[in-house]
Symmetry: C2
Subunit: 504 residues, 2 copies
């Protein structure tokens, strides 16, 4: 192994094959790993673990990660039946299938809760941590790769630590990380971040050579996810938001360079940020979870001075671009533990402008981020709740319809609630923007229906609202027999649109 | 007026009758007042305002308070049609009726959001602040009475300030308040509280004599609300919680003197705290919203060293007791602005043990705190969301049935969602306690049904769950046609119990 990658000579004795390292994992273990939105997750050791099961061994584990991880971890371990319990977020197809089949016990959590759940012992003992790294320092500390996630707490609490040194990950990442750990109550202190770019910790995860049981070298690349091209709908959503920001600046409610932007994961979130490249805004900052491709555009355009997150989450093209220009991007970026990137304290202090995507939003402003038709887990909540409730302004975006128009993303009542009416201040679709601040539920309903709902569903939504308003209790009126009937109709007929009576 | 009450001679010219002071309020104004859980709210001026309308004037206002206020403010202004828009919480019968009739546009908000909504200008201009005080200082600063609530932001942002000096409120309250204001982003700094009792501000609300337009003397007492006697159900809930805390201490997950307790408003919350008097716990601290009667018991028993809140919320007997022993209780208590008492940053740092009451809880752990049968506004969310999501452990309590058993408080799906599954870690009823940490939705369902549901409803709940588990998507399975049918049945028949077929 290169001396630059393993700088602690005493640890050379711990160099192992993936197969040898995987032997440290026992049936019944709780395993916590690096990885966040398929970035910087361990690959060689989980693949080797799966081989043992393919060869007939029985191994069942609880798997805790930062957020989503790739096929070499979530995919293969779900397919081989190794994962029995999974926290707190996933996007892998095999994992999702197993969860929706009921084979894997999955708890979808606020990402900022996960590190403290580990620290508090609420998950029980952490047997093994597997951490992808670019290098190990002279003192046996770990320099993570493209994400930090829950790794610092995994390392601090695990009995055994396995490190995957991934040579496909650039050594130029060194210095981008800022690792700060909180103490447990009653000894916690203020987190001293007052600007998005403040560095308050160490550039490595404190570990020490004693705790490391195996070091595996690998060059398997992150299976990053493609980002959709910026489509017409995303572009319109982005334009509505930029217009809204301009009006808020005009009204004196936002500074000219706005406040730190937080933007969710995925194509729409990426497209919304991309829209800022051509806006008049300058000197923007970001305090968010993931640094996606459009952030590189914003940095290149000189629009963003600093972006704080817990992972680089580029597309395949973005990954090439990141690696080719690492020294430049590292200067403008900070990768923090997800406890800090998503911390309510910091989000509220900085006053983030929170931009998150919804699966569906109801007329009163409740948001479903996770379960399609109430029960079908998509990915998970992620950090949306961490930011939303602590935002300066909390904005949710959704394209007004899905499935070629057969699903309205604006519904009478969400089939699953992840964000309540109390946490949603602005709703945006490609149709328009509804500013809900200061509105009562029924006023919100009209604002959302008129500004955000698709014209095909607008009359149906208004009809629902008007009939609900005839019931005795008019604060947030509902027709309980009908409130979820749009979803039931979709499940039964494949469309939320009512059956049209055929006339002779 | 006594010199001790009005210490700024320049302000003597501003002494006015309630009728004169009320003339500063114009039709269309936004009025922000003191008051929190009918404590420390203005009374004389609103009564005089109502008189003007009774005499034929047209006055319509937006009313913002800290939390609930008494009949002399919410009651009379709702009855006379003066309040058109109301933020963020209420418990008054006339106000509640008008909201549920749809006559008043009410937005139920996280209490910690209200102060920053005022500071950010999201409510528009604040025309008038009316603040109940025990005294005005030499510099024209305001010493509040039994609550702080949103008063500091109301004063800072209002164009005109009216002060009600209430001589029924003890001057011995002086020194109990700790007024700290946050700056607006991007200039916010850490709030330097690391222990519940830390004092970080001033004992008065900064105002200055220029801003005060009128000073009214009154002796109308707070219309405090009675607290129910500690009943059997509350006692059992309290016992389950204490047993849980003991086990957590035993497991090393909580310190011996626990962590700061946060407890909601009302009889059950009061009873739960009361149970601690006979527990083995010592040196307890509280970081909460309201200081109710049982807190005095805990202080008297030497169990609680310090209680931080934003108001004294005693019963009638409690109020007498508070006034008779003010000097003692003031030593153990701190009253803060509700921005600070409810601040996510501080709640999470201290690691509060959050105890809040639910109207209903569903099998997967979602909580309805506000709307009975989905639409009938009870009071509001209050600070439950501020504490819950930032708690060390978030606990919700509910008595397993209501309306003589015709309502099950455990339901297949909540009819309104205020707290999501991601925010609820422990559910307690008089039947027992369900620890949901680390459980998947279906595991949570069995834990809640078995431990918390009333035996009359347990088989129905299990039946729902088991049939839902037959659907294709089993992460958090629901029968959408049936999910809200229990509520619909109650509305139609007066009971959630199914009609029993009469047999011959």
């Amino acid at each position: 192994m290169e001396k630059e990658r393993l700088r602690c000579p005493a640890l050379e004795a711990k160099i192992a094959t993936a197969e040898e390292a995987a032997l440290f994992i026992k049936d019944g273990d709780t395993v916590a790993t690096s990885g966040f939105t398929p970035s910087g997750y361990p690959k060689a050791v989980p693949l080797a673990l799966a081989e043992r099961v393919k060869n007939g061994e029985k191994i069942e584990i609880t798997l805790i990660t930062g957020a989503s991880v790739g096929s070499e971890l979530d995919g293969i371990l779900a397919e081989t039946g190794i994962v029995k319990r999974r926290f707190p977020y996933q996007t892998n197809n095999s994992m999702r299938k197993a969860i929706n089949k009921g084979d894997i016990q999955y708890a979808d959590m606020h990402l900022s809760h996960v590190p403290q759940f580990i620290d508090y012992g609420f998950f029980g003992k952490i047997d093994v941590a597997i951490i992808e790294a670019i290098a190990i320092t002279e003192e046996g500390h770990i320099i993570p790769s493209t994400s930090v996630g829950v790794s610092p707490q995994a390392v601090a609490n695990a009995e055994k630590v396995i490190v995957e040194i991934n040579t496909s990950q650039s050594l130029a990442l060194e210095g981008v990380h800022d690792i700060y750990m909180t103490k447990k109550p009653p000894f916690r202190e203020p987190i001293p971040i007052v600007h998005s770019g403040d560095r308050i910790g160490t550039p490595y995860i404190v570990c020490g050579s004693d705790k490391i049981v195996a070091i595996v070298e690998t060059d398997i690349t992150d299976k990053v996810r493609p980002l959709g091209a910026v489509d017409e709908d995303s572009k319109k959503i982005s334009e509505h938001i930029i217009k809204f920001f301009e009006a808020e600046v005009e009204a004196g409610r936002l500074p000219e360079n706005l406040l730190p932007l937080q933007s969710g994961v995925g194509s729409v979130a990426n497209a919304v940020l991309a829209g800022l490249v051509d806006s008049k805004f300058e000197d923007l900052t970001c305090y968010t979870e993931v640094i996606q491709d459009s952030m590189f555009d914003l940095i290149d355009a000189g629009k963003v001075t600093v972006a704080s997150g817990t992972s680089f989450t580029p597309s395949e093209e973005g990954l090439v671009r990141l690696n080719e220009n690492m020294e430049k991007y590292v200067k403008h970026c900070v990768l923090r533990p997800m406890e800090i990137s998503n911390h309510p304290e910091v989000a509220r202090r900085l006053g983030v402008l929170a931009l998150n995507t919804a699966i569906e939003i109801d007329i009163y402003g409740h948001v479903n981020s996770t379960n399609i038709m109430g029960s079908r887990m998509m990915n998970g909540l992620g950090g949306s709740g961490d930011f939303t409730r602590n935002a300066y302004i909390s904005i949710f975006t959704t394209v007004s319809t899905a499935k070629n128009g057969d699903i309205s993303s604006i519904v009478p009542k969400v089939s699953h609630c992840d964000h309540t009416e109390h946490d949603v201040q602005v709703v945006v679709s490609e149709i328009g923007l509804a500013d809900l601040r200061g509105l009562s539920p029924r006023e919100r309903a009209r604002a959302i229906i008129e500004n955000c709902a698709h014209p095909d569903y607008r009359p149906m939504l208004l009809d629902y609202l008007e009939r609900a308003e005839q019931t005795p209790f008019k604060h947030e009126p509902h027709l309980l027999d009908e409130a979820l009937s749009w979803h039931a109709r979709f499940l039964a007929t494949g469309t939320m649109k009512p059956k049209v009576e055929k006339q002779a």
